[in-house]
């Protein structure tokens, strides 16, 4: 009898709980917009977070609710935006393709080291030890934590600085989040120039520890005709909406840290263009043209000392290796 009683009691409890859940599931039912899964399917599905939302489905939700534009996905590009616009039944906005850029050019040769670091090869770890081995508080630590995370392997570490290879970068912004110094910025893919420094110290202080540091001299601001460059906290920053691609700032910069992308500025010699034209000429002439085109490139486009040094060291290394190999047999 007792057993029957207990059984009945528990059947009752279960029944009540079950009914409660069933009713609750009706009351609390959430209507899911059918467009959300559709858009999620269209999106690349990389869940990279480049749009600023937590993954692709969150981005789809934001697009449906109107919190994000149909062109919100920086990775999918125009075709993806068009497909989303078709689902939403609206006009496509234009996608500005972005790319990441490390705003630092103080490599091993021109930025001073504070101490000799022998810890784990990880930027965040080095950051915990007095802000990293470089004396500059806003300089690239150069252990490539961003390079490890880059889904497209677009970042390499060269001469102690992380370098983003623009052709591989699809602007997801993972590296921007990963950098403990926060010196990686997303800039428009077509940006012609960028300032290769993030130092917030005054010019006189920056000068003491880095040869490639912005000293806030305002020369670029004065030379810029469109007013696209402003200097705040003794660091120049460029407003790409106003930039007219003239390239005068790069010419004027006394520290040579405003870098020009090849062929994107009107004043700086369009080097690749010259090479392309030369392709129509005979081989001998083409080689000459290339040499001519490369020569100004090296002085203008690169931080003046990295490329020549690297090539010279490479040559030095290559030569003894050859001699050793020759000696061995």
């Amino acid at each position: 009898m007792d057993i029957l009683f207990a059984l009945l009691c528990f059947a009752g409890i279960s029944m009540v709980l079950g009914l409660m859940l069933a009713v609750a599931s009706k009351i609390f039912a959430v209507k899911v917009d059918p467009r959300i899964p559709e858009i999620t399917d269209v999106l690349p599905g990389a869940n990279c977070g480049g749009c600023g939302f937590a993954g692709c489905s969150a981005c789809a939700e934001a697009i449906v609710s109107g919190a994000a534009k149909t062109a919100a996905c920086p990775v999918g590009g125009q075709s993806c935006a068009d497909a989303i616009a078709a689902i939403m039944g609206t006009q496509t906005g234009t996608v500005t393709r972005m790319r990441a850029q490390v705003m630092c050019s103080g490599g091993h040769d021109n930025a001073k080291q504070k101490y000799l670091y022998e810890g784990p090869h990880d930027c965040a770890a080095a950051m915990r030890l007095g802000g990293g081995p470089k004396e500059c508080p806003n300089g690239c630590i150069g252990f490539g934590s961003c390079a490890l995370l880059c889904p497209n392997h677009a970042i390499t570490v060269e001469n102690g600085i992380a370098v983003v290879h623009a052709d591989k970068c699809f602007g997801c912004g993972i590296c921007v989040e990963s950098c403990p110094k926060r010196i990686i910025k997303l800039i428009p893919f077509d940006a012609p120039v960028h300032v290769g420094c993030s130092s917030l110290d005054r010019g006189s202080i920056t000068r003491t520890y880095c040869e490639a540091g912005c000293i806030g001299c305002m020369l670029c601001t004065k030379v810029c005709e469109s007013g696209a460059i402003t200097v705040k906290d003794s660091i120049a920053s460029i407003n790409y909406d106003l930039c007219t691609h003239c390239g005068k700032c790069a010419e004027k910069c006394p520290r040579s840290i405003i870098f020009v992308e090849e062929g994107k500025c009107t004043v700086a010699p369009p080097a690749p263009q010259a090479a392309e034209d030369a392709q129509n000429v005979t081989e001998a002439i083409r080689e000459d043209a290339k040499q001519n085109a490369d020569a100004p490139l090296q002085t203008k486009d690169t931080p003046a000392d990295t490329v020549p040094q690297e090539s010279s060291t490479a040559n030095e290394e290559a030569v003894p290796e050859n001699t050793e190999n020759a000696d061995l047999p």
């Binding site: 009683f5 409890i13 079950g18 409660m20 859940l21 810890g119």
Partner: protein, 196 residues
Amino acid sequence: MEQLINILLLMLSSVLVQNFIFSKFYGICPFLGVSDKPATAAGMGMAVTFVITLSSAATWAVYYGLLVPLELTFLKTIAFILIIAALVQLIEMFLKRYLPSLYQALGIYLPLITTNCAVLGAALINIQNGYSFLYSVAVGFAAAIGFTMAILIFAGVRARLQFADAPKSFQGMPLVLISAGLIAMAFSGFSGINFF
């Protein structure tokens, strides 16, 4: 007034002296499982706090309202686990409908909580100690705060452990357990304190 002070003292002792993780070992699985990052640890802690507080109230009501009058107290384990499972499901649905932002934060942790011994443990402790309704809810809440505190402290420690150069055999779980042991050692310092 005296009752209020009693409740506060009881809560303080639940947080520090009778800490769920470091002295009672309730809820070790989520403690070891989701303490990799402080953010996830905070989410888990919040979800547990939410569920324990509500389930303390619900189980107390069912125990004294149903099981005691029917003399079925020996079946409390089954009844409690049923209530907790249903409650977790209910909370999940409710949050999804009315507090989507909170659901986003806690969502993925809620299903895990059904099999979290901290929740069932808290309910059983309240019954075992014969607390009144107010005491039950207060102690349940305090115990959950103790759990959250422990898991947050530990997440901070684990974030640093990632850079530790440990011997190969100790990497992973052994190192985690040993550092948990060291924190537990610190917490055992509270065990001498007697609030009553």
